[in-house]
């Protein structure tokens, strides 16, 4: 799972896609996932971080993660493999 190249990601939770000119906003959890994806981390590594840091069970996280990735795809922010 790779983010589209050249996305500008700000620390305050915004993404700018220069290829479309669209901007997006993220909540705290969304921003962490996007930053990890940018660093090239995989789902397992991201999950481990959340299970360690947040009061959340594995199933709920996986379910939320899937939904979030589907939205990244919906907005065309994931590179086609």
């Amino acid at each position: 799972m790779k983010l589209k190249p050249k996305l500008a990601i700000s620390d305050s939770g915004f993404i700018f896609d220069p290829s479309t000119g669209e901007s997006y906003s993220l909540n705290e959890e969304g921003l962490i996932i996007v930053q990890f994806l940018k660093e090239g981390k995989n789902e397992e590594e991201i999950k481990e971080h959340f299970l360690n840091e947040y009061d959340i069970d594995e199933t709920t996280f996986s379910r939320s993660y899937l939904d979030f990735i589907s939205m990244l795809k919906h907005f065309n922010l994931i590179e086609h493999e």
Partner: protein, 451 residues
């Protein structure tokens, strides 16, 4: 180290330009408790979904309404509108406060009697009163509000048969300057029908005409409509005084006061647009006080307002059963309560508030109920924090009509709990079980075996 609270990760597109007038965030703080009782505890103890009624709010609202009218007019009588919420405990709170009963069917009439309301404190409205209903009402000396000529002639027959002179009032419909004009209840003022039936009653002398009644509509947001209605009722009242030298006992202005709920498609929230009791009272009582009715013959002013007295006292608690992403990217929630329990969601954009802490981020959300039918939508569009499976939420202002118009469709109706003024909780209507339905059904002998 304490772990952080998890909120579903969310991304949304930044829309350039003016924000949507209808889609702004509305929830800023969770509702974690009702009258001091944690929502979580209520759901743990009584299940989800759950209706909760605050006795304190009912009493406070009634006091506010009564004060608004009684400080402006010397003879005020409220009559609790049973159809708005006829759970016995709710009715009895209003009766303890001094309300009479206003009923619109034989079923409601029986409920009022069972609640201990004396017959002479029951107002019988509605277009459908059977012969049996009317006999009971006449024998109990109740106030019968005549809706049509067939009812009038039936009452004449019954008066002779029972040798009792029934106490009646005439229901009157009229143009009060608002749309829609309700014309189906009673007799019309403008075309002279109302004056004609009044004269028939007075000339025949078989019925005891004691009052005039109107019910101009529902969710009336302009108090002056009531003032217009009152001008017309007073015209008839004075006509009776002048021509027949008879002083009617009361004028019943009906119900229809708005509540703070927001109607679908409304530009501003109901909390901003709903008139106060003082505004309604001012409009209605000023017309009577300033009329030429003499002080000693001022009629009792009867009010049948239901929605405005009970809506704020009712809450519906629910739980998120699942979240689901729709093809257009919009988030949707499947909850355990639908239009079966929240009939008023057909005309209100109900306020839905999470019952636990949430962050500042919101997303466009559709809120569905549990029913397997497409129209089961509680909110078609609302900005909500990213709720997840198992989260609880509170729907406020649901006290009116939902506990009478609810549907038993594919599932059971849940517990209804009352929080009393000492913060004790009581089940006032038990959750239904399969036995409730089995007890009513009978299977013919030849259908008992399916082998």
């Amino acid at each position: 180290m304490e772990k952080k609270t998890f909120e579903r990760p969310v991304i949304k597109k930044v829309q350039i330009g003016m924000p949507s007038k209808f889609g702004l965030k509305s929830e800023y703080a969770p509702i974690k408790e009702i009258d001091g009782i944690p929502v979580k505890n209520l759901i743990e103890q009584y299940g989800s979904p759950l209706y909760v009624i605050s006795e304190q709010t009912i009493r406070e609202t009634y006091t506010e309404a009564y004060k608004a009218f009684s400080t402006r007019y010397p003879k005020v009588q409220f009559a609790w509108s049973y159809k708005t919420n006829y759970l016995d405990a709710v009715c009895k709170i209003f009766h303890q406060e001094g309300s009479w009963a206003e009923v619109v069917s034989g079923f409601e009439y029986e409920k009022a009697l069972n609640n201990g309301v004396p017959g002479n404190k029951i107002i019988f409205n509605g277009p459908y009163k059977t012969r049996e209903d009317l006999i009971k009402a006449i024998e109990n000396n109740s106030f019968i509000h005549i809706d049509h000529y067939d009812e009038y002639y039936l009452l004449i027959d019954l008066a002779e048969e029972l040798n009792i002179r029934p106490k009646v009032a005439v229901r009157i419909n009229m143009d009060t300057g608002i749309y829609p004009q309700w014309s189906r209840f009673g007799f019309n003022y403008e075309n002279g029908e109302a004056w004609e039936i009044i004269q028939r009653i007075l000339i025949s002398n078989k019925l005891d005409l004691v009052g005039l009644h109107c019910h101009i509509g529902t969710y009336i947001m302009v108090p002056w409509a009531y003032a217009n209605a009152m001008y017309k009722l007073i015209d008839l009242f004075l006509g009776v005084e002048k021509k027949y030298n008879k002083h009617l006992q009361y004028i019943d202005i009906g119900g229809g006061f708005a509540s703070k709920n927001t109607l679908k498609g409304a530009y501003l929230p109901g909390t901003d647009t709903c008139p106060t009791f003082d505004q309604y009272a001012d409009a209605i009582t000023s017309v009577i006080i300033n009329s030429s009715i003499s002080i000693e013959h001022l009629p009792v002013l009867i009010l049948e307002t239901g929605r405005a007295l009970i809506d704020d006292a009712g809450y519906l608690l629910g739980t998120i059963h699942a979240t689901k992403r729709l093809p257009d990217g919009k988030n949707s929630l499947i909850t355990d309560l639908g239009v079966n329990l929240l009939f008023t969601s057909f005309w209100y954009d109900h306020k839905i508030t999470p019952a636990q802490e949430f962050g500042p981020y919101t997303e466009e959300t559709v809120v569905y109920g549990p029913l397997c039918m497409n129209i089961d939508v509680i909110r078609e569009y609302v900005q909500l924090p990213p709720l997840k499976k198992g989260d609880h939420f509170v729907i406020s202002r649901i006290g009116a009509y939902n506990m009478t118009q609810w549907m038993q469709f594919i599932t059971y109706r849940p517990n209804v709990v009352l929080i009393d003024t000492n913060k004790n909780t009581h089940i006032i209507r038990k959750a239904e079980t399969i036995n409730n339905f089995n007890n009513l059904e009978q299977t013919p002998e030849h259908l008992k075996k399916i082998e």
